[in-house]
């Protein structure tokens, strides 16, 4: 019984910690960032003819740009070590550079 309660406590602690986050970063990413001592940048754009830039310098950083629409442009520039960049675009006439 004690084991079950302990397991439930661990499971319930996950969502509670996630609710403290005020940005769109998921919990797994946050943990990764915390371990790396770095930073995370999320950009989400919905619509046409939008532009997004992310510039990061340092270590352990993560950058994500998500765009949906037409004629959007995204760029991620990272300098440092153990960096990760993700880009997702949906639509036509898109441009992306990492």
């Amino acid at each position: 019984m004690r084991r079950i309660l302990a397991a439930m406590a661990v499971i319930m602690a996950g969502p509670a910690a996630a609710q403290d986050s005020r940005v769109t970063t998921d919990q797994v990413t946050q943990r990764a960032i915390a371990r790396a001592g770095g930073s995370v940048a999320d950009t989400m754009q919905s619509g046409d003819s939008n532009k997004a830039d992310t510039v990061q310098s340092g270590s352990g950083n993560v950058a994500t740009i998500t765009q949906s629409g037409s004629g959007n442009v995204a760029a991620i520039n990272q300098q440092g070590m153990a960096l990760r960049a993700e880009g997702t675009q949906q639509g036509v006439g898109l441009g992306y550079s990492i």
Binding site: R22, T24, A41, Q45, A52, V55, S57, G58
Partner: protein
Amino acid sequence: MRKILLASVALIGLSGAAFAGGNVAYIDQVGGNNNAETMQTGVGGSAYGRSEGNGNTLRQTQSGARGTVDAQQWGNGNTAVSTQSNANSGKVEQRQNGDRNAATAKQTNTIFDSTITQHQSGNDNRATAEQLSVSASRISQSQTGAGNEAIAYQGLVGLSQITQGQNGIGNYANSKQENGVSLTASIQQTGNYNSAVTDQSGLVNQAGVMQYGTSNYARITQR
């Protein structure tokens, strides 16, 4: 001057300087081109300012912990300036309705659990918020209309947040957090031709931008 007197009625209650803890000051302005100022020193002070009309200025200054500053203005071309120093658990709230208004809020020196909240509705407004030497503190700005600017700055800061929301056309949001740890900055914009710029320096920081509309621009810089 005569025109000002004829056009406006200013009711100023408990204004001027108050030097003790737990003081409460009220300013109520009706009319145009009025200027009012309050200064408070002590713990738990409260300053409330209201103005209806155009071209009015509210200045509120506090020094001490657990202070509250509240400024609300209706009309065009109004200015609200709220400053708190040595203000642990201090709260500043500014609300403006109209066009071409300016709201400025500043909290300085060893601030813990302090908050600046700014709301503007109308066009061509500007909200500026600044927190220096803070921890576990927050800046929240929201604007509705066109051609508005929201500027937020936190320096020497930890475990703190900046949240900016704009709804309309041609708006600009800028947040900057310097020399900090565990900071979050989020900008949400709905509409067209909006710009969002976020700059962070330090460790374990997070920045998020969400934009809905066309011809928007977002830039995140982390150093």
